[in-house]
Amino acid sequence: MSASYLEIHGVKKSFGLKPILRGIDLSLHAGERMALLGANGAGKTTLLRILAGLTRSSAGRITIDGLDLMQQTREIRRKVGFVAHQPYLYDDLSALENLLFFARMYAVELPQVRSTLLLQRVGMGKKARERVSSLSRGQLQRLALARALLHDAQLLLLDEPDTGLDQDGLALLTELLAEHHAQGGTQLFTTHDLGAAMGRSDQVVMLSNGRVAYQRETASLEEASIRQIYQEVVR
């Protein structure tokens, strides 16, 4: 078996005296997709923020593609695409300007071409010159997806990426993630939609009270059984 692309060992995180993560151990091979499930407050977003390098863990060690997250954060940032729960775009810039700005920050080659192509890919070509403040929640989410794909990230971290998306948007999200997966990309995403978790992942992990409460390969599960397990483990 090859070495894991993402290794999480004993990761803990507390905010003040309140423990959020109580020791997480997970690993993901290159090209694998993991769905992270759990009730609100289970620690899913905190774990993703730690993996993205936005929040420091209180204890534990994380490596991504053999790089230590604490020591080689900047190199890791080039490999990671992050879609947060909120789109976090610049309201006063247009959709294209937002992508251009981030393309330059990631030193993407031919930023104008890449940004324009991605806008078209996420169905936002006609909205390229519109200010972000005038876009709907679903359009913002499409734009956030395009931004995460700008620099050909090897690892995609997605925090409830289906938020605000309509049926076309959801189909687009599934397509984009499938394309990324087909190109060998690794994905870790959170969701409350068990069907989406089953359809888009190779492994399902359930967090409860800051711990991994359940982990199984998706292929060995059925949707009905995962619902039952979710009720038992998470609730």
């Binding site: 936005l54 810039l93 700005f101 330059r104 920050m105 990631y106 030193a107």
Partner: protein
């Protein structure tokens, strides 16, 4: 992408956002003008005391107007979450600090350019604009270098508007005093004045170096 390109990319984004919203510069400019007008009416200005009051009024207007802008530097981006997204980019944290600093110097500078002619008219004091420019530039750089660092710190707290002046003002007192005295020396020539401009430059160098180094620790979650 080198440091300068990173600084320029972030700075250009901030300038573009400000040009479209105009929230910061208009607010700061109006505040500075109001302070100058209030000072003008509040004091019984005569030919013999104008030069003593005017430099203080000018720098009070500049400093307090600066706080309005400095408070929004990072707080506005933090509130919308876009600052987190900026931190995810593989760029040097120094580039983020320097871009924010230059943006602040630029926006405060615009306010000063508008406020100076109003000051000259209201206070009617003789001074050489050419000699005042380096004082204003260095004074502003000092205020902005400390202010940008602490605005990042204050932005992560609930009471950021209250906290920023409380943290920054004690640190910039030497710069403000030196700037007021250097401006005053332009209006009334007096013998044996210390080299105020050199003092401001020295403080700028210290604050700028320390702030550039400390910024990455301040923005850690």
């Amino acid at each position: 992408m080198n440091l300068l390109s990173q600084v320029w990319t972030i700075l250009w984004k901030d300038i573009r956002c400000e040009l479209r919203s105009k929230q910061m510069v208009i607010g700061m400019g109006l505040f500075a003008l109001l302070v100058l007008v209030i000072f003008n009416f509040a004091f019984d200005l005569r030919v013999d005391n104008k030069a003593a009051v005017a430099p203080g009024a000018l720098w009070v207007a500049f400093v307090f107007a600066s706080f309005l802008g400095l408070g929004r530097t990072i707080a506005a981006e933090r509130e919308k979450g876009s600052f987190d997204r900026l931190l995810l980019c593989p760029v040097d944290r120094k580039a983020i600090y320097l871009a924010k600093l230059l943006g602040n110097v630029l926006f405060i500078g615009v306010v000063e350019i508008v406020a100076l002619p109003v000051f000259a008219i209201l206070f009617n004091v003789p001074f050489s604009a050419g000699a005042l420019i380096p004082i204003v530039l260095l004074g502003t750089l000092g205020i902005a270098s400390v202010g940008t660092l602490f605005s990042a710190m204050a932005a992560a707290t609930q009471a950021r508007e209250l906290l920023l002046p409380i943290l920054v003002f004690p640190l910039i007192v030497p710069i403000v005093i030196a700037s007021v005295r250097a401006t005053g020396a332009l209006m009334v020539v007096s013998a044996n004045e210390p080299p105020w401009l050199g003092l401001i430059a020295a403080f700028d160098a210290i604050f700028l170096s320390l702030s550039t180094i400390l910024f990455e620790y301040v923005i850690e979650d």
